[in-house]
């Protein structure tokens, strides 16, 4: 009993211990808030990444792989619901600033405005079955407050082509030859979709505007002959914007119909001996598979692909089937690592708070040496004497934890109002949402984390209180009484 009375009394007379409470409070608060926001972001990011990726992606295929050669094999598996070919290539594009001739090239050194693109040729019909392609387009069309330019309005043709009328007027604006009657005009330029963010600062980019694509391919005319580079050129029409939400994907990809890209790469569907070229195959699995089940499906599909391709495989060629997580592993791991590092740093705050408590309690034991002797003389047990100080720790920790959890939750619940208020009153954005293009700062309250942090903080304070408490309990009463 006396240990409670004295613990409270000692604390009441030593406001320095409030520092320990504040320390714990700040540590718990920051662990909850930062983790909550981070997890919110990660959840959003994962949702975006998920949206941008098919369930499984067959990749690492040999050059000159025909889609039909492996499609049947893939679809032979009961858990494969749909497939779509992908043809990846790379290139740079120029936006014509006027007339038939190139008048100036603006070189932008900011990475977003680079004219380098990853071309992804897709079969729009099949793509719809595999990814939420229509959703990408819908998101790309959606206006935002910061982006008044209306890019994506028209419905695109079945092969992603821009309505002929729009191309007609674009050509007229650039003084390109067109028939007098728009009705006589037939579209020539295949459509090209760019990420929404990427086009935000691209001036004069209207639907139907030509984008001149320049690319390189390496070919060998016949077996044994040295490989030679050839330049490829093709004009596309800007057909609008898409947005998956995954910035890495949106900023680097240009989506084009697969056929013109095949033609560029020497496999025009009308040519004799051409193949339905692809570099990857996007796969949608049957609904409701867990990530582990996807993984086993992936393993099965690798075998099927290898079998379909037959042996021997060209050297350096290793077909793989990646789950949506693996496709984005570098990015997802980076975000996870960042969260882990931040958490680690914040745990250091906790350790500092613990050290503070240790220091104040240790000081208290030294100051109270004489009291310890008195209490022993009055019949206090060693345990009871020690408990004075563990109970001090308990009180400090409990207040800190309860305060920290309370403040943390209050902060998260009011995160957006607080963020808005900070921005409006002092122009400071705690969480710059433009960076992530989110209407609100996301957060996520994870109960296990909350409980874990609270428990860890409390146990830590108890532990650091236990050390001086043990020192107090083991003190020799006579020496304590005569302590000066």
């Amino acid at each position: 009993m006396f240990s409670w009375v004295l613990a409270l009394r000692y604390l009441q007379r030593r406001w320095v211990n409030v520092l320990g409470t504040i320390g714990v409070m700040v540590a718990v608060w920051s662990l909850i808030v930062v983790r909550g926001v981070f997890s919110g972001f990660i959840e959003d990011i994962r949702a975006d990444v998920r949206r941008s990726s098919p369930d499984l992606m067959v990749t690492g295929l040999p050059l000159q792989t025909s889609f039909s050669s492996i499609d049947a094999a893939l679809r032979g598996d009961d858990e494969v619901a749909a497939t779509a070919p992908r043809l990846r290539h790379y290139g740079t594009f120029f936006q014509r600033s006027g007339g038939a001739t190139l008048q100036s090239v603006e070189l932008e050194f900011s990475n977003v405005d680079s004219s380098f693109v990853q071309l992804v040729g897709i079969d729009p019909q099949r793509e719809r079955d595999v990814t939420s392609f229509d959703d990408w387009l819908a998101r790309g069309r959606k206006r935002t407050a910061r982006d008044p330019a209306d890019h994506g309005a028209p419905e695109l043709g079945s092969n992603l082509e821009v309505p002929a009328k729009l191309e007609y007027f674009a050509r007229r604006r650039l003084d390109l030859s067109v028939p007098a009657d728009p009705e006589d005009f037939r579209s020539l330029w295949p459509g090209l979709l760019l990420g929404k963010e990427r086009t935000r600062y691209q001036r004069g980019l209207d639907i139907g505007s030509p984008l001149d694509l320049l690319s390189v391919d390496y070919v060998a005319r016949a077996a044994g002959e040295p490989v030679r580079a050839i330049t490829l050129q093709r004009t596309f029409a800007f057909a609008g914007t898409f947005q998956t939400g995954a910035r890495l994907f949106d900023d680097s990809m240009a989506i084009v119909p697969i056929e013109p890209l095949r033609t560029m790469l020497g496999h025009d569907a009308l040519d004799e001996g051409s193949i339905d070229l692809c570099t990857d195959v996007a796969v949608r699995a049957t609904k409701g598979l867990t990530i582990e089940q996807l993984q086993t499906l992936a393993d099965r599909l690798v075998d099927r692909v290898k079998q379909a391709l037959g042996t021997p495989m060209p050297t350096g060629c290793k077909p793989e089937v990646l789950t949506w997580e693996q496709q984005n592993a570098v990015f997802l791991d980076a975000v996870d690592t960042e969260r882990a590092m931040t958490t680690l740093v914040l745990f250091a705050v906790m350790l500092i708070a613990a050290f503070l408590i240790f220091a104040t309690l240790h000081m208290m034991v030294t100051q109270k040496t004489k009291d310890i002797g008195i209490l022993t003389a009055l019949g206090g047990s060693q345990r009871g004497v020690g408990q004075i100080f563990t109970r001090c720790g308990m009180v400090i920790g409990a207040f800190g934890v309860v305060g920290g959890v309370g403040l943390g939750l209050a902060t998260l619940w009011n995160l957006n109002p607080i963020n808005d208020w900070l921005f409006e009153s002092i122009g400071f954005e705690l969480f710059p949402r433009t960076l992530f293009d989110l209407p609100k700062v996301p957060y996520r309250i994870e109960t296990p984390w909350l409980v874990g942090v609270a428990a860890a903080a409390f146990v830590l304070t108890l532990f650091v209180a236990w050390v001086p408490a043990r020192m107090a309990a083991r003190m020799h009463p006579v020496k304590a009484l005569s302590y000066e």
Partner: protein, 231 residues
């Protein structure tokens, strides 16, 4: 015949300074009977405080035995010794040794809290408080209940310490120069109080003092000289 409330048999106590043994007590035999008031005289540094600590189980004798009511107690486990110390002996020190954070009343009440749980104390809190207030009144401090030690005079502090020892209901009080730090007038008052308590409660005292006059008023005088007790 009743066993003495407190006795020492051939108690020795040595300190070690490095490897060198410094004997302080060299075979002390002493018995305090029920209700007896014994004065312990001795030069400064003779080992009087050391003896009191050994008798109060705050320190272990190097050799020899300590008995309470005829039972050997010096070799009990540490928790048992704490319990016995609480039940059997009350301490009064030269420097009062009150807890500065607590009021006079709380300092006295504290002794009742030493060996019981919160629940146990809660049940008896009113009775205990009344008892403590009446004891404080008895030692003349009914108007000082809520003062902290720093707000009390030396004599008043010692009275609080005495009240604290009394609330414990001990069988014997070990008082180590209780007036050593007080002016003679205040000291007389405190001593009168101790004599009165001894009379009224039949409480045994082992009283360390330098004052020969005072010692003569006790039932018996013993002297600690060269590490042994002589009558």
């Amino acid at each position: 015949m009743n066993a003495p409330v407190l006795s020492a048999e051939a108690v020795t106590k040595s300190y070690w300074l490095g490897k060198r043994e410094i004997p302080i007590l060299k075979g002390v035999d002493l018995a305090v009977q029920r209700g007896e008031m014994v004065a312990l005289l001795g030069a400064s540094g003779a080992g009087k405080s050391t003896l009191l600590h050994v008798l109060g189980l705050l320190d272990a004798p190097t050799t020899g035995r300590v008995l309470y009511d005829g039972n050997q107690v010096h070799d009990l486990k540490v928790t048992e010794r704490a319990r016995l110390r609480h039940q059997h002996v009350g301490f009064v020190f030269q420097f009062y040794h009150l807890i500065p954070e607590l009021t006079a009343l709380q300092n006295v009440l504290l002794t009742r809290m030493m060996q019981c749980s919160v629940a146990q104390y809660w049940r008896q809190r009113k009775a205990t408080r009344q008892e403590a207030e009446s004891i404080l009144g008895d030692v003349g401090l009914s108007s000082r209940l809520l003062h902290r030690p720093s707000e009390l005079s030396g004599g008043e502090r010692q009275r609080v310490a005495i009240a604290r020892a009394l609330l414990q209901n001990p069988r014997v009080v070990l008082a180590d120069e209780p007036t050593g730090n007080l002016d003679s007038e205040t000291a007389d008052g405190v001593m009168d109080l101790l004599f009165r308590i001894n009379r009224e409660r039949q409480l045994a005292f082992l009283l360390v003092t330098h004052n020969e006059e005072l010692a003569k008023r006790c039932h018996r005088v013993v002297r600690l000289r060269d590490g042994v007790v002589v009558n």
